[in-house]
């Protein structure tokens, strides 16, 4: 540090300049960057001189002088005057140049406009000199014409010198920092390379390994010491030696990017890798080697495979689900049991990839399991060839094989029947158990909702291990659906059968009734003829013998006549019984019982009047019965009441009551009554409790009533009776809603 000696100036200005310098020096010593140096300088310049504005310019590497710092100058001006310097770079003995009035200096004509715009009238150029060579310049700008004093110039030069020194110092510092930074950077780079998970391998143009990071150690298994200096071909995997080609590319300056291939580790394991190889150039730009980044993508490859597998499995599952849906629809629509079973077996076989598939009905019971000769397992036809596979197996074996399934014990899977101890021959003389090529085996029971084992689905394949757990699941699902479908089909079959049976028995019934009618009619008719002959003949004898007929002869003849008459009556009654109970075709009408009663009373008007009978009735409902039949019942019961009367005038009351879905009629009379022990008998055909002399009639009235009532699904009975105290007859008919 040198202090400039002053030449007897006024004390004040002197002090001020000194102070400026001190401040500058202090600032320079504290400056940590060139920027601060420049700013400090400019502040001092403005302080020490009367310049309005100031700037520092330095020559850069191409010899152009440029603004490094300025104060109060517009960018436009700076741009305009950049490059202008009174001295060239490195000029020796550069001295300040003053332009007192820019307008008067021709050398600045070029910049006249810029100067005017900027409002500059006077300039001073002060060189920054270091080691005698010009580094740059200070600029002092004056808004008015101004001639710099010597003092001004001196102080400006002093500042310039300090700044030059400070600049050199700072630059040196900067270089060191730069170098430090470079070192730091390169160390950081090395750390990155080292810590990378990828293998970063450097090799020269002959393929010799020159660098080997930790990642390479990990991925390839070799330590750096083991590989440095060895050719990179030691990593090659058989069938994957592209290294010469890669090197050729590198030599041409091309990069090889994300090339997937395989390499061999130290332990011999082959791994999948993705390579990126770039050429390495020296400072001159010559290719001196290659940098290879190898990423172990084995895991990635594995994941891709896994993904592909999962995708395939998902598609499989989706396809299976679709098939299931379709099965469900088909099974739901199919009611023919045999077809159903066929469909199920075919679809299931396709789904599990079986060569053979059969459905066996479980016809007999659990005793099949004991191994006794079993004919009850009836196979259903399934896949063409396979039909006989299971049927071709010897009987006891097949029972054992199928037994668990017929017990309903869940899915059975065997990867190889010939190896499974369950199915190995029990004695050495037995022939091989499965002469047919049956190795893989899969079976599932088809169990109805009731728990009954309907049958089993059996699948086989000549290749062992064909069936997987997934197939088990599939089969279980199908078996479940099949169970429901089979249940339904059976139910339907049974319903059909029941319906057919019903139709058939109705047919038979009708035919039987018709036959009965025809029989009864012709029997009655054919029986009348000889009877009439007997009767007429007896009458003729009686007539011709007249009074001559005495005593017993007369009685016997009388017997013949009486018996014939009675038989006639019986035949007539029989015929009317048949007519009365004839099977009525068609739907049963709903009739008003009170109307029917009215008609009956009209029919019986004669007997009613003669006997002085009174018939009363309560509210009578509609009933499901043909009117004529109901009339017959009323007629018979009322006639009986009139016939079997006491000395009193007969009284009959008819009432009806609805109870528990039945319509119950009661016919109450005040007749002679019936003893309780005869309550059933009276309904018998031709059964009478009284002699012919006491009361007329053949005794079929009640029989007819019973037959009619039972035909309509009802019942008739003697509700109560007291000998001498009247009877109550009741008959019940199923109610029909109106």
């Amino acid at each position: 540090m040198s202090v400039v000696a002053t030449k007897g100036m006024a004390g004040e200005a002197e002090v001020r300049r000194l102070r400026t310098l001190y401040r500058l020096l202090a600032a320079l010593s504290q400056a940590s960057a060139l920027e601060e140096v420049y700013q400090a300088a400019i502040s001092s310049l403005l302080d020490a001189t009367s310049a309005d504005r100031a700037a520092i310019l330095l020559f850069d590497d191409d010899g152009v002088i440029r603004f490094k710092a300025s104060r109060g100058l517009s960018p436009e001006y700076q741009a305009a005057v950049t490059g202008h310097s009174p001295w060239p770079q490195g000029a020796q003995h550069a001295v300040p140049v003053v332009i007192p009035d820019v307008r008067l200096d021709e050398s600045l004509d070029v910049y006249r406009n810029a100067l005017d715009q900027e409002g500059i009238r006077a300039l001073a150029f002060v060189p920054l000199v270091l080691d005698g060579l010009a580094l740059g310049k200070f600029m002092l700008y004056y808004a008015q014409p101004h001639d710099c004093t010597t003092d001004e110039l001196e102080i400006a030069q002093a500042i310039a010198t300090h700044v030059a020194l400070a600049t050199r110092h700072k630059r040196a510092e900067f270089n060191i920092t730069e170098r430090n930074q470079l070192e730091v950077a390169s160390r950081r780079l090395a750390a990155i390379v080292e810590s990378s998970d990828d293998a970063i391998i450097g090799k020269d143009l002959t393929g010799i390994i020159t660098t080997w990071n930790q990642g390479a150690e990990r991925i390839f298994g070799y330590s750096a010491a083991e590989v440095l200096g060895r050719p990179v071909s030691i990593l090659a995997a058989p069938g994957h030696n592209e290294m010469p080609d890669i090197l050729a590319q590198i030599k041409q300056g091309n990069r090889v990017d994300h090339y997937e291939t395989r390499r061999r580790r130290k332990d011999g394991r082959i791994i999948d890798v993705s390579l990126t190889v770039s050429p390495v150039r020296d400072a001159a730009g010559q290719i001196v080697g290659a940098s290879k980044i190898a990423r172990d993508i084995s895991a990635l490859k594995f994941a891709e495979q896994e993904r592909a597998l999962l995708l395939a499995r998902e598609q499989d599952a989706r396809r299976t689900a679709e098939l299931f849906n379709r099965i469900g629809l088909r099974l739901g629509a199919e009611l023919d049991l045999e077809k159903l079973v066929q469909e199920v077996t075919d679809i299931a076989s396709a789904l599990v990839g079986a060569e053979f598939g059969s459905f066996y009905h479980n016809v007999a019971g659990p005793q099949n399991v004991t191994g006794e000769h079993d004919e009850a397992h009836t196979p259903s036809p399934s896949l063409g060839v396979s039909r006989d596979v299971f049927a071709g197996l010897p009987m006891p074996r097949i029972t054992e094989l199928f037994a668990p399934t017929f017990r309903g014990a869940g899915v059975v899977r065997c990867d190889d029947l010939t190896q499974d101890p369950r199915y190995l021959p029990s004695s050495p003389h037995e022939l091989p158990q499965f002469p047919l090529p049956l190795r893989s085996y899969l079976a599932a029971p088809v169990v109805a909702r009731s728990g009954e084992v309907l049958g089993g689905l059996f699948f086989g394949h000549s290749v062992p291990g064909k069936f997987t757990e997934t197939h088990e699941t599939i089969i279980t699902g199908i078996a479940a659906q099949a169970a429901v479908a089979v249940d339904n089909a059976r139910l339907f079959e049974q319903t059909q059968w029941a319906q057919n049976e019903l139709k058939r028995s109705n047919e038979e019934l009708r035919r039987a009734n018709q036959d009965l009618e025809v029989f009864a009619y012709s029997a009655s008719h054919d029986l009348h003829e000889p009877l009439r002959t007997i009767s007429i003949s007896a009458q003729i004898i009686e007539r011709s013998l007249g009074d001559r007929l005495q005593g017993e002869d007369a009685i016997f003849l009388g017997n013949i006549l009486a018996a014939s008459t009675r038989m006639n009556a019986l035949l007539d009654d029989l015929l009317s019984y048949t007519k009365a109970t004839k099977y009525e075709e068609g739907a049963t009408p709903s009739v008003d019982a009170s109307r029917v009663l009215e008609d009956v009373l009209t029919t019986l008007r004669g007997p009613i009047q003669e006997s002085g009978t009174t018939v009363t009735s309560g509210q009578l409902p509609f009933v499901a019965m043909h009117a004529g039949r109901l009339a017959q019942i009323f007629q018979n019961l009322i006639s009986n009441a009139i016939k079997y009367r006491t000395k009193e005038a007969p009284r009959v009351h008819i009432a009806a009551d609805q109870r528990d879905g039945w319509c119950i009629f009661s016919v109450v009379d005040n007749g002679i009554g019936i003893e309780p022990q005869f309550a059933e008998q009276i309904f018998g055909l031709f059964k009478r409790l009284h002699g012919r002399d006491e009361y007329p009639g053949s005794g079929i009235g009640l029989a007819i009533c019973q037959r009619i009532v039972e035909q309509y699904g009802g019942r008739i009975w003697l509700e109560q009776s007291v000998p001498g105290g009247g009877s109550t007859f009741s008959f019940a008919l199923p109610s029909r809603p109106e």
């Binding site: 008719h525 003829e529 009439r532 009767s535 007429i536 009458q539 003729i540 006639n568």
Partner: protein, 131 residues
């Protein structure tokens, strides 16, 4: 002459009695089965000189050919269609009565079980012979 087509001997006896009561000189000709009756009709149709009956009493229940067929033949016979026919039968079937009526029988008499009731037949015969 009254033609009686009847197979039951007792009925023959009784009806003959009835006919005797209708007219002393009433000649009764008996044919006892349907086939013979048809042959007789054919004979009558062929031989116009043969005497024809003034009245036919016809039983429906005949062997070989049913009475209703004979009735039909009678009614369609050119020679005999004018002869009154009284159907005498044991059948009470409405169908028989109606068929006889439709075929133009002059009367229908159901054979009774009481001897005395044959008197009604006498009335029918007298009426038919008078017309």
């Amino acid at each position: 002459m009254v033609l009686l087509i009847e197979d039951n001997p007792i009925d023959v006896f009784v009806i003959k009695e009835v006919l005797e009561g209708c007219g002393p000189d009433l000649d009764v000709r008996l044919i006892s089965n349907g086939h013979a009756a048809l042959l007789y009709l054919q004979e009558l149709d062929r031989d116009q000189t043969a005497p024809r009956p003034a009245l036919v009493l016809l039983d429906l229940n005949l062997p070989k050919v049913a009475g209703i067929e004979v009735l039909r033949a009678l009614r369609s016979s050119p020679q005999c269609s004018g002869i009154p026919v009284i159907v005498v039968t044991s059948s009470s079937a409405y169908a028989d009565r109606s068929a006889a009526q439709q075929l133009g029988a002059a009367g229908y008499f159901q054979k009774p079980t009481e001897l005395a009731a044959y008197g009604e037949l006498a009335e029918l015969v007298k009426r038919a012979l008078d017309t």
